[in-house]
């Protein structure tokens, strides 16, 4: 009963206050402060020397990278939506959002929903200037969606389907539904050495090193920057 009385009293007080406001004609001052959300979060990366030490880039390259990064994301953070939009610009034919989502998770090492410049540059350093083992480990990390250390068929199918989605509808030959699955089967055929249905990091690295095509293509993007 006391709770009810308290609620009634609070209601009456609120009503009286609103009448008072109506009569005195003062504007409601609370509203603007409520609406001012803290949307502006700025992030500044660590110093140039530190980044140079941690990555395999020179200072000039870091400068160029940061300028491009800051131009697109002045706040210093990329969230997933922006990331998807940027990535989708490169693939106008199809739908790049799923693959961008997986890429984002691979870049976002801290798993906090946003990519800082340091994450961006460290990943690029691995991809462009890292050793073969590091590149393959990064790729394994990309495929391992739940980060449990194993790639199973479902994860691989998701990834391959996401890659096929980027092609879009108008392809030659026509994209069929079994194509991703067949692709995944071929992949597992090659990679899964002990045929236990999952691919571990070591199996993955060993199988990739055996394949000349893959080795060659890993060197393909070395002169990107």
């Amino acid at each position: 009963m006391s709770g009810c009385t308290r609620r009634c009293k609070m209601g009456i007080v609120k009503f009286a206050r609103s009448i008072h406001r109506l009569v005195t004609g003062t504007l409601n001052k609370d509203k603007p402060e409520d609406e001012l959300e803290m949307t502006v979060v700025c992030h500044r990366p660590e110093g140039l020397e530190q980044l140079e030490a941690q990555t395999n880039f020179t200072k000039r390259e870091l400068q160029i990278l940061y300028r491009g990064f800051k131009n697109e994301c002045p706040s210093g953070l990329v969230n997933e939506e922006t990331f998807k939009q940027i990535y989708a610009q490169f693939f106008p034919h199809g739908d790049a959002s799923t693959y961008a989502h997986y890429l984002f998770n691979a870049f976002d090492s801290g798993q906090n929903g946003s990519v800082k410049f340091e994450d961006f540059v460290m990943a690029l350093s691995i991809l462009l200037r890292g050793s073969i083992r590091e590149k393959l480990r990064w790729t394994f990390n990309l495929y391992d969606l739940n980060k449990d250390g194993y790639i199973n068929k479902e994860e691989m199918t998701d990834i391959v389907r996401a890659i096929y989605d980027m092609m879009g509808k108008y392809t030659y030959p026509v994209l069929k539904d079994e194509a991703p699955r067949q692709h995944v089967d071929a992949f597992f055929q090659k990679m899964d050495k002990n045929k236990d249905g999952v691919v571990t990091l070591d199996e993955f690295i060993v199988s990739c090193q055996e394949d000349d095509n893959i080795m060659q293509s890993l060197q393909l993007f070395e002169n990107v920057i």
């Binding site: 300028r67 990535y87 490169f90 462009l128 990834i159 990679m191 293509s217 993007f221 002169n223």
Partner: protein, 634 residues
Amino acid sequence: MAAGVAAWLPFARAAAIGWMPVANCPMPIAPSDKSRRQDELIVLNVSGRRFQTWRTTLDRYPDTLLGSSEKEFFYNEETKEYFFDRDPDVFRSILNFYRTGKLHYPRYECISAYDEELAFFGIIPEIIGDCCYEEYKDRKRENAERLMDDNDQENGKEGNLPNLNFRETMWRAFENPHTSTMALVFYYVTGFFIAISVITNVVETVPCGIHLNQKDLPCGERYSVAFFCLDTACVMIFTVEYLLRLFAAPSRYRFIRSVMSIIDVVAIMPYYIGLVMTNNEDVSGAFVTLRVFRVFRIFKFSRHSQGLRILGYTLKSCASELGFLLFSLTMAIIIFATVMYYAEKGSSASKFTSIPASFWYTIVTMTTLGYGDMVPKTIAGKIFGSICSLSGVLVIALPVPVIVSNFSRIYHQNQRADKRRAQKVQKARLARIRVAKAGSSNAFLRSKRNGLLNEALELTGSGEEDQHLSKSTSVIESQHHHLLHCLEKTTNHEFVDEQVFEHNCLESGMKNYTSRSPSLDSSHGLTGTCCSRRSKKTTHLPNSSVPATRLRSMQELSAIHIQCGEQQALSTSRSSLNVQSDEALRLNCQSSQITTAIISIPTPPTASPEGSLPQPSSPSQPSAGVNIVKVSAL
């Protein structure tokens, strides 16, 4: 491709390493950037004011002057800067476009000067950002109208164009009375008769002073013959005018549907209906009401008065505000009428007999008329009545200034630009931007064709084509296309155009129906999914055993269309964004020459999951080393 994200292209290419273990075929070779300069500052000297920016900033938009090699024409060797003899103030917004990706239109700038600068630097105005686009379009429209006015005045001062036929002359005379004296005379005569007709209608009802049955007789009945003659004369003039306009109108259907012609018809119809109807007692009541419509003749004055037309247009454009006014008034009326009825229910001899009866009181009070024929007597009624009149003032005062400001804006704006014309422009603008954007996805297919055309020609040994075709794409474009190429290789599928895609569906339908070749497997699922309705067309094909070679050649012929005749389109270094719209449309909907450049993928059949790739057609193809691809092009 939006060049603002050109900075992220290296990242996208690096991320492509994620596809490599999935792919089964070797990847194409990356384009080498031999002329890789370190990112340098370049100085742009615009009429003495120096702007500096990075070279890569300008390279973001390769279809413009500053982004392409055209700026080399302006390079000054001694001072090592690019000199432009243009307006430095406008150049500020142009350079900001490169920096931020958004083009803004400064309001203080003259519209034609701005347009000239944009044209000089090769930037299409359609990419002005949404924040400034409305302003830009308004100013441009005003400018265009002013130019049109000037032209009209000039034309008016010249003699009449000699080759207008009689009908067109008449129409012109009707629409612009000051073009000839005859038209002016006609204009004034019709105006005079409209006035006569209206005055006649009014005077008809004035009592004339003859006492008959102790009642004043209206003039209409006293001098009925005279009034009838006047009415007939007016209606005859109006009918002749209407028929002449109908004859002269360039589009009769549109004329009939226009508002002015409807007013004309409504003005003269009652007379004719009155002639036709007999003096029956039943219908004479209806006949009398028809005469009310004669008052619509006053609306014919709107042809003579521009202000009246503006008023009508304002009311039409403020329809939403008027609707809101009406709606809120209705709400308030119902509420207050109910309240007043119940408040006054107790008092004796109350005029508030029902809620609808209270409506009248509420309306009169809210509009602050206050006739006084219904007044509340109880205290509660008086309190609510005062609240009613206060709120009435508020409710009516709110939408009225909007209507007023609308009217003044339109009146001052020379109201010639319709909202309809603005919508057409908006559509055209969006269409143009869409075409330019679609150019980027087609650019890849086009460049694939270019690259393969060159390779094919090299293979066949004819080096007559210009070798510079292969260099026509910029570095960023070639890198982007390489990325898309890698994706194709990873998935073993290729990007094609929509038309070719549907064509292929048809082809696969034919394949499925006629061939039993083992190399063309897994196509039964195909017709079910994609073009099931198209496969019906193939039923007339003979179900004989078509030799596989003939089928393959049909497929190859249909799949490969290479444009040889568009050298000028290929050689332009400015593609995608800045292609003129008709050129872009021409590129997109081409259908002309077909030549065969049959090249097939020598992929090992075990590695590829798609078994439906055709076998190499000519065994004399050089193997290994040459990376040749099957082309499904525009």
